[in-house]
């Protein structure tokens, strides 16, 4: 099971790969859509890649609540448990 720091690092790699945002910019306080310019289709791709990477399931209704990178890290951390 990944630690929060590992989740943060791996998630940043996924966001860089899919949306072209430099991994260093993918910080907990950053909003995916507002700050990182991730569009809605890329967000779906990121969620699916994160599900695969961390072995969790993130239902569509919950994705709406994941505004910031920190929200996503916390969600994945809890979902792993």
């Amino acid at each position: 099971m990944a630690s929060k720091t590992e989740i943060q690092t791996d998630l940043a790699t996924i966001v860089e790969e899919i949306a072209g945002v430099p991994a260093d910019d993918v910080q907990p306080d950053k909003e995916f859509i507002g700050d990182l310019d991730v569009d809605s289709l890329s967000m779906v791709e990121i969620v699916v890649a994160a599900e695969e990477k961390f072995g969790v399931r993130i239902p569509d209704n919950d994705v709406k609540g994941l505004k910031t990178v920190g929200d996503a890290v916390d969600y994945i951390d809890k979902a792993q448990a």
């Binding site: 899919i18 949306a19 072209g20 289709l41 779906v44 791709e45 699916v48 599900e51």
Partner: protein
């Protein structure tokens, strides 16, 4: 008929012979074959294991994130379009165009077939959650046209002619119309195809359409040769920037040639076989000449559709003789597919680029692999051939497609 002249002011390609126009054109003049044995694991199960894949990986040329949101056909199209756009002088820091007077007509025969089939594999093997949210915009046939339109800011309409192997030429015909109708000043036209995938190859194989000369790939595409046994599948994209004479003159654009007219007809004969008398093809050529104000005797060069299938090549030769009459004896004929393979929906566009460059440089590329020619009664260039150094020249590019589509486009030297 309106008198608006339509000029070709930019060219771009990514082809089996090269990643740009310069390398593609030099490959054509050298008589180099772009056909090779497929390295993919899946090729082993097919009766045809050769194809003409593009010389440069398009995803490596584009911005990485942009590339992964496009089907390979869209990647090829965008690379070619950006080259043509810059070549026309519209690239970064170049001339500007009123976006509401700028259109795109980018054709495809098959569309994003690799995206479609790969996503079907994901659905079957891993479930619906693994289907890409980008699958639809990537697989739809107008995806490449939309990507180009977005990239250059075209707002006068973004179109996708789909007429099998006549698609690329039909896009050029549409572009000429859009300018003549006054709907646009500049139209980016062309075709793209990326169907080197086991399903299309198996399907063409089941039609007995593909060459099986797996041991001699460079010799497999041999239009008009008695030893031909079908076409070789190619992939790539080609783009021309068409522009009204007034717009091109106002900005002092470099001009390659005039796209003077087009003939679009249908056989209404059979789902796949051409009309054996070639009447539709004949009419397409005659209409292109009439629209251009040309007589048969003005035509010095025809880039034939000539795919290297036994039925098609001979039917086309008959149609050329019918369309041009006695003047067909003065025409230098070539089939660039002997080198590039058959690019399906991109074929007409790539071959129009070849015709435009032939008029511009006054030299016709050779047809290779013509060792034992059919007696078609026409002059086929087997070595590159100089055209007259002086005077006005005119040429035709022919494309015909399954479904009975025939498109001939006429070009004039400037």
């Amino acid at each position: 008929m309106t008198s608006t002249r339509v000029l070709v002011t930019g060219l771009g390609t990514t082809s089996p012979l090269g990643g740009d126009v310069e390398s593609t054109w030099s490959g054509l003049l050298e008589g180099r074959s772009g056909v090779d044995v497929l390295k993919h694991d899946w090729a082993e199960q097919l009766s045809t294991q050769i194809a003409a894949e593009v010389a440069v990986e398009p995803g490596d040329v584009l911005d990485r994130v942009k590339a992964r949101r496009l089907d390979r056909s869209g990647q090829l199209a965008l690379v070619a379009a950006l080259e043509a756009w810059a070549d026309a002088g519209f690239g970064d820091g170049g001339d500007s165009v009123d976006s509401e007077r700028l259109a795109v007509a980018m054709a495809s025969g098959i569309g994003g077939v690799t995206t479609l089939l790969n996503n079907y594999d994901s659905l079957r093997d891993k479930g619906p959650r693994r289907v890409s949210p980008l699958a639809i915009p990537m697989l739809m046939p107008n995806g490449p046209a939309a990507a180009i339109g977005l990239s250059i800011g075209a707002k006068a309409g973004v179109h996708t002619p789909v007429s099998a192997c006549a698609s690329g030429n039909e896009a050029i015909a549409l572009g000429i119309d859009l300018i003549r109708l006054g709907r646009a000043d500049v139209v980016v036209v062309g075709g793209t195809e990326a169907a080197v995938h086991p399903l299309p190859m198996a399907a063409f194989g089941q039609m007995m359409a593909l060459s099986k000369r797996n041991d001699e790939p460079a010799l497999a595409s041999r239009p008009w040769d008695k030893g031909r046994d079908g076409f070789v599948l190619g992939e790539g994209a080609a783009v021309l920037v068409l522009e009204s004479e007034a717009h091109a003159t106002a900005r002092g654009a470099k001009v390659y040639a005039e796209a003077s007219g087009a003939g679009v007809t249908a056989d209404s004969h059979d789902i796949a076989q051409p009309d054996p008398a070639g009447l539709g093809a004949t009419r397409a050529m005659k209409i292109a000449l009439r629209e251009s104000g040309l007589s048969a005797a003005d035509v010095v060069h025809i880039n034939a559709h000539a795919t290297s299938t036994p039925q098609g090549d001979v039917a086309e030769a008959g149609a050329i003789k019918n369309a041009l009459g006695d003047a067909s004896g003065g025409v230098v004929l070539t089939s660039t597919k002997s080198m590039t393979g058959h690019l399906l929906g991109a074929a007409g566009a790539l071959e129009s680029v070849s015709v435009v460059l032939a008029l511009h440089h006054r030299v016709v590329p050779p047809t290779i692999n013509l060792d034992d020619p059919e007696d078609i009664g026409l002059d086929i260039a087997t070595e590159k051939r100089d055209l007259p150094a002086e005077g006005d020249l005119a040429a035709l590019n022919n494309s015909f497609g399954f479904g009975g589509h025939n498109v001939a486009v006429a070009f004039k030297s400037v």
